[in-house]
Amino acid sequence: GNSDTGDGSAADGTITLGFSQVGAESGWRTANTTSIKEAAAAAGIELKFDDAQQKQENQIKAIRNFIQQKVDVIAFSPVVESGWDTVLKEAKDAGIPVILTDRSVDSADKSLYKSFLGSDFVKEGRLAGEWLVEQTKGASGPVNIVELQGTTGSAPANDRKEGFAKAIAANPNLKIVASQSGDFKRADGKQVMEQFLKANPKIDVLFAHNDDMGLGALEAITAAGKVPGKDITIITIDAVKDGMQALADGKFNFIAECSPLLGPQLMDLAKKVHAGEEVPARIETEETTFTQEQAKEALPNRKY
């Protein structure tokens, strides 16, 4: 049973794509994985999928093994931004083009990868912040905001925090009164929100770095006898199905989308770089934002 998984570029011209995924830490991530797998099958690309279980070490190992297997294109969603130079150089030396998805790397040497396809976390935070600034334009008194951060030290958490903070700096009335990590999890989001509600008598806005934490917080708010979406304005990021549902139900107020469906775009890119075509160094995923009304419209045909 010697499966022909070695030297990928067979004569028939099928492309072998080695893809190293961060992990399966959230529904978003799983949707991302599914999208890539389906797109690969549809595009007739042989996919070598590896799950790094949120460890950079594992991703580096996987990339090394892809190089050994002489895949045609390597793509990966970096767990962290820095630390890729060595292994990317090895890929370059082996003549294998690399595409980044979802998160970028901070290499000074931009020739190490062909393109970066993904969302802009800072922008997501900024969009959320800008919407809030717009909504509170008329407010005279201070607006108290609590923030549920993602996993401390992770790129999306850092960037969304930064983007949001920059955007709300426009209005001095907007004040973040408490900010804690909810680890991107529902249970933690709920637990943190419970304490926020007890410690801060007046909370006007909740900004959660992802839908899941927002959904957890929702429960805490209801349990505290407040009405989510009315007493407390809730802004989140991601737009997964449950989040969109909450938005459509009027429990959330605004979601900045972070789309996981970049499979088709990735396959296009892979074909192009394999064919040696020039590709743009930065491709943003098509993303939008949702208000409650937009959510009601969009909900029926959301894929995830």
């Binding site: 399966a24 950079q56 090394r64 050994q68 630390g83 790129a155």
Partner: protein, 330 residues
Amino acid sequence: MSSTSLTTGRTWRPGVPRRHVPVLATLALLLVMYGVGVSQYRAFSNVQVVFNVFIDNGFLLVVAVGMTFVILTGGIDLSVGSVVAMTAMVSASLLRVGLPAGLVLVIALLIGPTLGFLMGCAIHFFEIQPFIATLAGMFFARGMCTFISDASIPITDGFWTAVSQERIGDPRGNFVSISVLIAFAVVLVAAYVLTYTRFGRNVYAIGGNPQSALLMGLPVGRTRIAVYTVSGLCSAVGGILLSFYTLSGAPLIAVGMELDVIAAVVIGGTVLTGGSGYVFGTVLGVLVLGVIQTLITFDGSLNSWWTRIVIGGLLFAFILLQRLIGIRLK
């Protein structure tokens, strides 16, 4: 009466000494596993695949060697993963500030042992259970990481990049990194220390029976503190190797590494209650984990959850076989 020996001699079975059986069983199984890989995936037989296992697990190996000392005394050190991360973070942040590489190396290599020493003291003088003392150490070191910076810090220092990208290899293009050589050096030194120095033998004695060791007049306290210091030092070296490997310090790197390390040590035949095991076994343990992972990447058809299930399954098959062979040969 004293003319005849009063004791009955034991019949001695020739062959492999019994205490080497577990290690040899592990080695044999490892080879079988590699064989399976080669037969299944064509590129698996490349020499570089083997080298990559070493390149990718060099830091794990160094840390596991330190853990071997601790486990041999019957203790455990949960702080290793965090100390690795902290060392990398500290190096990266100091380099960013512009300190010279040599000085950074020295500072980075001092932090781990110091923390280890403190944990050892807490364990020895205040009789705090190792699990707890080192768990607190783990929280502390990880806390330091995010305290230093909550984003990853790239390393651009010349020395670091040079070491990181140096390839020592044969003409056919197969190569290893400097880290691998360092890891091998650490393994050799550790093996020597454990077999040929008093400190090493005291480690085994304490693992066998700490009370007896005390009554035999061995420096139990000193040795116990020393093993945690050694483990701290190995973690620090591991952290430096990791920073060579990734050329950065990231607050969330090496999360859960302590479990991998403990697993490697135990798979290598070291008994968790202490007193028996070898550094060589630990090397095998690390390789087992490395090869399992390589097999999975080569397969490349597993999705995320099947990856975990298969890792667990392979681990189970391996340990079961190891155990059965061990029983049979005994």
